[in-house]
């Protein structure tokens, strides 16, 4: 497919189809409705199926059923819907099923509003539901990256047999940008025959079970240990970040998703005025890319965390990653607002004056 101008939600939907996803289960919620709409129009044309769940609770359990067969499946929602899905996501992680979940996040808590926000970081990076589990969380900073990460999400979920969450705020969902969506080769689902349902003959006439209950502690403890070993492999291998103008920086701005775009503009502007500012942009929120903060140049005097979250949900991860060596300040907007380029510029200048 040639480069074309697409809306974020539709680009994510098409990217998923091009990555071999043929089954989508979801429930309408703004600002991500174009994804189920796109899927309902396009999946039947490629031999797939769109099923509208009666709720997000049903949708995530449909995803669990679909995923249990070893085929590529997904759901998308926005903040309140992801909260409802959390029980199901915990079950999916426990049963070690691959699937992709997209959260086009909006303002909260509660019904909040339908405008963009980054207030679901903590929910996403903690897994969201009960128990000791994690999701790989991918946070695109532009629409081409949203396309690429959506496709990576399917590969990663298959690689680790773990749900992968793409976390993009409402701006990313609703803006338009030029993207190129290439077909991504999916595994033949029969490679999953040793654990997936419905491959009785391929498996030589033996049954498998997909379950999350391990009543005896001598089963549950080792299974949890096994999961933690898997998460340790993810931590070691999957953390991603971008360094932008870090080499000579005196101040590091850190931001992901939409706020990273605002920061990039601000940095470009004030660099022209001689301010030495760079950016560390996490691309994976879980595993958190601590390496992005651990080898900063000597010149760095402090960090500015920029978020669309009233409680600056990422800042603790940044603080841990720097081992509290550097002073960390914050700036942002929330409740549906994004910080302006001017706001970030001024916050940077203020800090560099000190």
């Amino acid at each position: 497919m040639a480069r074309s101008l697409m809306k974020g939600t539709e680009a994510i939907a098409e990217a998923a189809i091009q990555a071999g996803c043929r089954y989508f289960f979801g429930y309408p919620i703004t600002p991500q409705n174009e994804i189920p709409e796109y899927m309902s129009a396009h999946l039947p044309k490629v031999g797939g199926m769109y099923v509208q769940g009666e709720s997000e609770v049903a949708s995530i359990n449909m995803v669990m059923g679909g995923a249990s067969t070893g085929y590529r499946v997904m759901t998308t929602s926005s903040s309140p819907g992801i909260s409802l899905m959390s029980e199901g996501i915990s079950y999916i992680a426990m049963a070690e099923l691959p699937c992709v979940i997209v959260n086009i996040s909006r303002g909260g808590p509660g019904l909040g509003n339908i405008l963009p926000a980054q207030a679901d970081y903590r929910q996403a990076t903690s897994g969201g539901g009960h128990g000791d589990y994690n999701l790989i969380v991918l946070a695109p900073g532009n629409l081409q990256e949203a396309v690429d990460l959506t496709q990576d999400a399917f590969d990663l979920s298959q690689k680790y047999r773990n749900p992968v969450l793409v976390l993009a705020d409402g701006f990313m969902g609703q803006m338009m940008e030029a993207v190129e969506i290439k077909p991504r080769k999916a595994e033949d689902p029969s490679v999953n025959a040793d654990w997936a349902l419905g491959w009785w003959n391929e498996r030589g006439g033996k049954h498998v079970t997909v379950y999350s209950m391990h009543l005896a502690p001598d089963k549950l403890e080792p299974h949890n240990t096994h999961l933690q070993e898997k998460y340790a492999r993810m931590r070691a291998n999957e953390a991603r970040f971008e360094h932008f103008m870090v080499d000579d920086a005196e101040l590091i701005v850190t931001a992901y998703g939409t706020t990273s775009r605002v920061c990039r503009s601000a940095i470009n502007n004030i660099r022209a005025e001689g301010y030495k500012v760079g950016m560390v942009r996490p691309i994976t929120l879980w595993p958190f890319p601590s390496a992005g903060y651990s080898n900063l140049p000597e010149s760095v005097k402090g960090i500015l965390d920029v978020e669309m979250s009233a409680s600056f949900q990422m800042v603790d991860d940044v603080r841990l990653s720097t081992l509290c060596d550097l002073p960390i300040s914050t700036t942002g907007r929330w409740g549906g607002y994004a910080p302006s380029v001017r706001q970030v510029e001024e916050a940077c200048k203020e800090l560099l004056k000190k």
């Binding site: 199926m49 059923g65 067969t69 049963a95």
Partner: protein, 263 residues
């Protein structure tokens, strides 16, 4: 003298497993009927079962089938996900009354209404068995449970829900029948109903639902035979046996009148 074999364990039953069910519990009878139906239809290699959260949560350890365990009440959604991806498979849910008629009420209604070819085996024992005998949506008026110690009171707890009748008002379902598991004359009918519910799916005929009135001697605080008697005297009176819907699915709600064949 020639010997005639009159009893054998179904092939769909895993060898050498013993269930955790209490003595006199009819979950075991229901499992057997499911096994027999699958065996008679020759569909073991393409059947996928969904165990509920409830006393039957370990069902996947007993049956030699591809099976999964759903979250509490969500078996219908899970089954829908599987059937959407694998329409060539025979997919069934096995659910208790707390699972299906309380926490999973939304999921069962919408699955029945979508009418993808699926099979539901619904165990109505008028109680939450697994968690220790709390009130279920199906608990009878006046029936004592650990959370209705003075007996279910409609003023506080509402009325027992008749799921078969309620689901029969939908245009989607192909087949809905209520049967009982207390004695051979009922079990023979129950067997036919379970078989039909699977056969319908093999033939692509929408969604089929069999409600099996079951005993929970442990949480009813009765001996097994008393439990059977209590079921027949009290449950069948409120939950009449019979066919509430039969193929072809009607397209208009006007066509959903019930044909109650109980006597």
């Amino acid at each position: 003298m020639s010997e005639t074999q009159v009893f054998s364990i179904p092939k769909v039953w895993n060898e050498n497993v013993h269930t955790h069910y209490c003595p006199g519990c009819t979950h075991g009878v229901a499992h057997r009927l499911v096994c027999e139906a699958i065996e008679e239809l020759g569909i073991q290699d393409r059947t996928i079962g969904i165990a509920p959260v409830g006393c039957a949560v370990l069902m996947h350890q007993y049956l030699n089938l591809d099976m999964m365990e759903a979250a509490h009440g969500r078996a219908p959604a899970t089954a829908t996900g599987i059937k959407a991806v694998r329409p060539d498979k025979i997919v069934f849910t096995y659910q208790g009354d707390g699972d299906l008629a309380s926490i999973g009420m939304g999921e069962i209604v919408h699955m029945m209404n979508r009418s993808l070819p699926l099979t539901v085996v619904f165990i109505n024992n008028a109680i939450y068995g697994m968690t220790g005998g709390q009130m279920a949506p199906t608990t009878l008026l006046g029936q004592k449970s650990t959370t209705s110690p003075a007996g279910r009171d409609a003023k506080v707890n509402g009325y027992p829900i008749r799921m078969s009748e309620m689901l029969a008002t939908l245009a989607g379902p192909a087949y809905i029948e209520r049967v009982a598991l207390t004695q051979p004359k009922y079990i023979i009918k129950a067997k036919q109903a379970v078989l039909k519910a699977f056969k319908n799916q093999v033939e692509g005929k929408g969604v089929s639902f069999v409600e099996l009135l079951s005993t929970c001697p442990t949480n009813w605080g009765m001996r097994p035979l008393d439990a059977c008697k209590w079921l027949e005297e009290n449950m069948i009176a409120y939950y009449p046996l019979g066919v509430f819907k039969d193929f072809p699915p009607s397209n208009t709600p006007a066509n959903t009148s019930t044909t109650n064949t109980s006597n």
